[in-house]
């Protein structure tokens, strides 16, 4: 083989090698972008699940007001909420803090996490069975991601 041909082969190998290196970098970049997009989806999904709690919590049998077994009013029973706050350690909602603010503040559930806390608040109907009155309360849910 003459020298020119040798150089030609070596050049081809080098070009192919460089081409594959560039391709690999491109693929890694593409993979990272995909990972980021999936991570965003996962974050959104977790956020959605967290916000779902705003609907789930007032509907729990442990909290919801009922009259003669009928739950036709979408309200939290204040006495049930106080009772629940005393035994909620038996539940596992993850690292969250759930508070009901209605006159005074009732910590329904608390498992403190570390780092930044995200919060979602919603107005909620509260019923006090001792005087038979309905109030407007606030349900606060904090989440450590």
């Amino acid at each position: 083989m003459n020298k020119k041909a040798q150089i030609g082969i070596q050049e081809t190998i080098l070009v192919i090698f460089v081409f594959f290196i560039v391709l690999m970098i491109g693929m890694i970049f593409f993979f990272q972008l995909n990972m980021k997009s999936i991570q965003n989806d996962i974050d959104q999904y977790n956020e959605f699940r967290f916000k779902q709690l705003i609907d789930i919590v007032p509907n729990m049998a442990e909290l919801r007001y009922s009259k003669l077994g009928v739950e036709d009013v979408y309200c939290i029973d204040l006495l049930k909420a106080r009772a629940f706050s005393e035994i909620s350690s038996e539940y596992d909602f993850g690292k969250k803090e759930i508070k009901l603010i209605s006159g005074d503040e009732i910590v329904l559930y608390s498992k403190i996490g570390r780092g930044e806390i995200r919060k979602v608040t919603s107005p909620v109907c509260v019923y006090d069975p001792r005087n038979g009155k309905f109030y407007l309360g606030e349900l606060d849910i904090g989440w450590w991601a």
Binding site: N34, D41, F48, Q52, D55, S66, K67, G69, I87, R130
Partner: protein, 268 residues
């Protein structure tokens, strides 16, 4: 070209080729894995959306998805062996591959509501009962995969649930049925899932007795009736704690109605 140079080129090409091939194999595997995970997460999101609309009512909805594999554990489900999803509610489901699932939410109560449970029904399976039992949206067929029997108890190699009075006989074990929902739970859930969800419901019932006891203590009126209620609540709770699930809340219901008749605030 010198022999040494040829050898070097050859080794270089082989090493570089293997590296590039390994990279592509690794990348392809990872990418497939990622896509499968994404698909499973998508199905999981669909399930969440579906349940969000269902949970306040006792109704059903169907989920049509590409054929996917469902693995059921105590508090979570795993989709396509890729994505594990914790479920915040008591549910009854079974392992398997399906492309048609029906989600049905039903209330479990014992005088007062205990919970709304979710049944994840694989409608590619055939269900049968010797009396009118399954709702219309369940695939009922005499050549069944899962049978629920109230009058007799056939002995075959199919999944058979036998109901004798208030007892559900499933897999050689007997469970007290305090609501029909538990019979559905046995039909739609695999044994481990049923046992786990059953225990969760019992735990919830105990918690609810505690909550109603504490709530009852918060009133100052109707002390005579309320003290009877407290006694009954404690008795029933203790029975359940001691493993006797055959509790009767009808006396409690009567006292609760009595409160209403005296225009006092009811307990539940």
């Amino acid at each position: 070209m010198k022999k040494a140079e040829v050898q070097f080129n050859l080794i270089f090409v082989i090493v570089a080729g293997v590296m590039i091939l390994a990279f592509f194999l690794f990348f392809t595997t990872k990418y497939i894995d990622l896509k499968e995970k994404q698909e499973a997460a998508k199905i999981s999101g669909q399930i969440d959306n579906l349940l969000l609309g269902l949970k306040f009512n006792t109704q059903y909805k169907e989920l049509d998805v590409p054929n996917f594999n469902l693995n059921v554990n105590c508090g979570n489900i795993t989709i396509n062996n890729r994505f594990t999803k914790d479920l915040d509610y008591v549910f009854f489901a079974t392992n398997g591959t399906s492309k048609k699932l029906t989600f049905w939410v039903k209330e479990v109560e014992k005088g007062f509501r205990i919970d709304n449970v979710v049944f994840i029904i694989d409608n590619t399976k055939k269900y049968y009962s010797d009396r009118e039992f399954f709702p219309d949206f369940v695939n009922v067929n005499e050549d069944y995969d899962v049978g629920v029997f109230f009058n007799s108890c056939p002995n075959n190699n199919k999944k058979v649930i036998c109901v004798d009075g208030n007892n559900i006989n499933y897999n050689g074990e007997s469970f007290y049925s305090f609501d029909d929902a538990l019979i559905y739970g046995a039909a739609f859930g695999n044994f481990d899932n049923f046992k786990c969800s059953y225990e969760k419901l019992v735990d919830k019932l105990i918690i609810l007795y505690d909550i109603y006891l504490k709530k009852n203590e918060g009133f100052n009126d109707g002390q005579e009736i309320r003290s009877q209620i407290s006694t009954l609540l404690s008795e029933n709770k203790n029975k359940i704690v001691n493993g006797n699930y055959d509790v009767d809340n009808s006396q409690l219901d009567l006292l609760n109605t009595k409160l209403s008749n005296y225009e006092l605030e009811v307990l539940y």
